[in-house]
Amino acid sequence: MAKKRPIALLSELASHKETFGGDMPLAPGHRMCIGCGIPPIVNEVILAINEPVIISNATGCLEVTTGVYPVTAWNVPWIHVNFQSAATVMAGVEAAYKVLKKKGVIPEDKKIHFVAFGGDGGTYDIGFQALSATAERGHNVLYVCYNNEGYQNTGYQKSSATPIGAYTKTTPVGKAKVGKQEPRKDLTMIMAAHGIPYVAQASPHIFRDLTRKTKKAISMDGFKFINVLEPCTLSWRFSPEDTMRLAKLAVETRYWPVYEVIDGKYWKVNIKPKKPKPIEEYIAAQPRWKHVLKYPEILEKIQKEIDEKWNLLLHLEEMSKKLAEEEGVDYEELFKVPED
């Protein structure tokens, strides 16, 4: 017979005053996998903000592992409603702040930043409508997508962020079909097309870049979107110590360009690998995807997508410089972060 473990009463737990994890917004002790890229992303973003923040969270890995009743890893105000609503929930909180400030309930000088986190399932797919609408309405919210290219919390099903050829539980590798049939959706481009003040792609291994982008984002009024690639040790099936190595490879192969867009019209590519590494190196490091190395026609499609997108970004950057010049705008100045 298994020994029955005593469960603490709610009243006892509620009386616990101590917290641990010091001042980290997302304290240690959460239940995320060893080697998970999400906690560094979350802490890099929140620590870049020197004023109070309120967080909303879509259902997913981050949510189920950080607030598990009756304990929480969050040292900042946090709310989770469901899978598809992270953006719109934050819109409600932000609008509440705005109106209560107008009514004099919240002091005029009290500054609060509103940040929403969602995985690619909650952002690219089920939460896309709410995300787009919240962006369109211009709520003063920063939305950060931790993009691990699939539904990892449910055991790895395909999302619209999953790349072509990749194995997932809903796109297995079989005799008739080899993994996912369609290329990944480019959500960053779609968000840029909203004409919102700030859109960026980032990678957790370049923490200075993500910190700078967060600071830039929160310095601007309106809706901001940062898409961060988050290699998933569990589903992509690489060793937990390799998370940042994978992120680095994604950037070095131009698979995940690191760039930013102001007002949907000024583009800047932040990192330009002079000698891009072959995509095969990145793919070979991921057992979820490495079978495509045996399929030259799929590899070709992957390379074509990467090359075309990279070329497009460079052209957009060049175009932006010309546009800025034409408009009499200082292009470099546009991307500077105001002093804290």
Binding site: I79, T88, G92, V93
Partner: protein
Amino acid sequence: MAQTKVIALTGNQAAAEAMRQINFDIAAVYPISPQTELMGFFAEYVANGEVDTEMIAVDGEHSAMATCIGAAAAGARTITASAGPGIAYMVENLYVASGMRVPIVLLDVNRALSAPLSIHCDHADSMLTRDTSWISIFSENAQEAYHNIIMAVKISEKAMFPIIVNYDGYIVSHSIEDVEILDDETVRNFVGPSDIHRIPYPLLDTDKPVTYGATAQPDYYTECKYQQHVDFLKVYDIVREVFDEFAEISGKRYDFIEEYKTEDAEYIGISMGSSFGTLKDAVDRLREQGRKVGAIKIRLYRPFPVKEIAQALSKAKGVVVLDRADSFDGIGGPLFKDIATALLATENNPYLHNFIYGLGGREIHEEEFMRAFDRLERLEKGIETRENFVEYLQVRE
């Protein structure tokens, strides 16, 4: 007592007037008939600066409720409104709102559910909400809708449960009636000012970070739900308290149920919403024939007024429950099952019958309700028999 004035308003106009007077912090809006014009009227108040409300025109009812949950957890006084399919679309979040114990007012301008598509009234939409742990109140007319919205704010904030105010689509929402309006100051004093500390744990109090919407595993989920269960039973007293407070400012005293000529009644009909006037007319005409009949209206639908119903039916020989929605379950309409359950709380064992009426906006006439009483009486006396507890009252077979 308040200064009052009587003006001609539709149900939607009366609701918009209540919203203006309350001056909600947040209104999340999404169009759907027959609710649409309500938020249209309110938008005029917003556009003219007559209210401070942040009106958020969201992308759908699911987002409307999610936005309300965020705003309410932040500490704002929050409202949204919908109907029929819109209510269906937000159901997932109705459970989230009550589980998180945030006060929100939802106006359900009752509409049928598809298919076939119908924009007209029945109560199928509201029946989707009956197990969501939202307080639910039905309104017979524009006057009651107006009063119920004002009381709803206070009930919801005292109970820390969200609340639904129902009023019938088109029949109430678009019909003009005389409505007695309280003065602005009385309403604002009654509901009290905006303040994030109306709720115990506002997100906007960033010095005291709280976690809303955590996961609960099998070791705690039951305890969370039990707390909700226990607290929901406290809603009865809170509603009674607010009804009393409201009587003081308005002179209008409401109860969980409204009884009409039930004192000596042998046969009692029960309905909710706008059809109650028709039911009372049916009772009057049958009384003229010397029949001992009465009527009951359910005002507080959730939590269900079990004791009050049991008391009101403690002497009846027969009861006919008039459901404006079908459950399609071989038992009967949703209200029928509620009444049958409430009868467990009395020694009396009246003959119980169920009619479905008024689906998808079908007009109801007093003759039809009189027929319902006739059928009940003949069944109870053994003159007629039935195959099922439930029958359709108005159908071309």
